[in-house]
Symmetry: C2
Subunit: 197 residues, 2 copies
DNA sequence: CATTTGACATGATAAATATCATATGAAATC
DNA sequence: GATTTCATATGATATTTATCATGTCAAATG
């Protein structure tokens, strides 16, 4: 492994850790000293890879977004729009997703913390939201974007709320209620469109 | 003003500030030194009023919750359930609410940060959610709680998402989309109930 | 009026924070 | 093989953090 490969590997190791911490502990989770120590390095070397803490936050957010499993991209292609939306909601609002923020969608893990980040971080988050909406609309051009916006807000809100509730029964009920509501909405959107024509 | 009144007044001044900061800057916003300085006091006196930082977080959350304006409690009484729900969503997902987190609902301001708080804070948050659901169901007994859970999650998610987006146009679109979806859901819930009978 | 109490201030401690100057040692280059 | 480069380490600085021991002064109490 030559030097640039080595550097890239180290950077990746840092980013993997940082992206996980960002989702489990938020912006405060990525203290430089602790992050580097737990990556098997020392704090001084940090600035070889990132010019500042905020640059790390941005990079970790983008890294997290690129590495979420189960995104809208990995879906069977032969679904009706409503079925596709229901499936997305079911996956997003799943217990397995709730219980593993470290590998999950950063949008829900960070929603209410975004306003406390710097401008660069806010812009990066906004770009992730835009990308997520684009992915959701794939191959169904012409749909009013408000429909997917609302479904995304419900998914993000439902997952974040479920994670905020320590009682498992209540938390499960939140996931269930939001999956149900997503299905109702997905159908209602189609009906609405039918009436308009 | 005697001594206990004076103490209570000071405590209230601290709590007012802390409750506002908690909503605008999150858990990290209430550094003891800065909080006390900005309340016109010095840091040492803090422990006369609160045993610890986390006790403050809990007290500030409860204080914030008690002092939100425009809650479900302040609504005209003669509304159908669906109309009531639409009105609640319209108020919650309003630009004025988005633009003033310092006086707004702490549930949306803190959703994604709750898991980073201590156990006491998480429990306090859960109690606030439960209370909020109770308020929403007032006088319409017998409704499946899932309906209000979903509407609350959509409201929280929509408002938090709108606050996370720096572009005003996009942010407005999120609020609009979530208000619309809330209205559709509120009507769909009634229809659904009609069919069941 | 003397004494006590208690709300708040002063100042200290210990830990954690971001950042950077400099050192080191191994890989890359000549 | 000598020299340069650069990824990482060491160690330092300045700031911020929560917490507490102790001091002070005004109000309450006898």
């Amino acid at each position: 492994m030559n030097r640039s490969e080595q550097k890239a590997a180290t950077r990746t190791k840092i980013l993997d850790l940082a992206a996980a911490r960002l989702r489990t502990e938020g912006l405060a989770g990525n203290a430089v000293h602790r992050l580097m120590r737990d990556a098997g390095l020392t704090h001084g070397g940090f600035y070889v890879h990132f010019p500042s803490k905020e640059a790390l936050d941005v990079a970790a957010l983008e890294w997290a977004m690129e590495n979420v499993g189960n995104t809208a991209k990995h879906l069977p292609g032969s679904l009706s729009r409503a079925e596709r939306r229901k499936l997305l909601a079911a996956r997003y609002l799943a217990r397995s997703h709730r219980d593993h923020p470290e590998t999950g969608c950063p949008l829900s893990a960070l929603v209410s913390e975004v306003p406390h980040g710097g401008t660069a971080f806010q812009n990066a988050y906004a770009a992730c939201v835009a990308q997520s909406l684009l992915d959701r609309q794939a191959d169904y051009g012409g749909t009013p974007p408000g429909e997917d916006i609302a479904l995304l807000a419900l998914a993000i809100g439902g997952l974040a709320l479920a994670r905020a509730l320590p009682d498992p029964t209540t938390s499960d009920a939140v996931l269930q209620a939001c999956r149900d509501a997503s299905a109702i909405l997905a159908d209602a959107f189609e009906e609405q469109r039918g009436e308009e024509q």
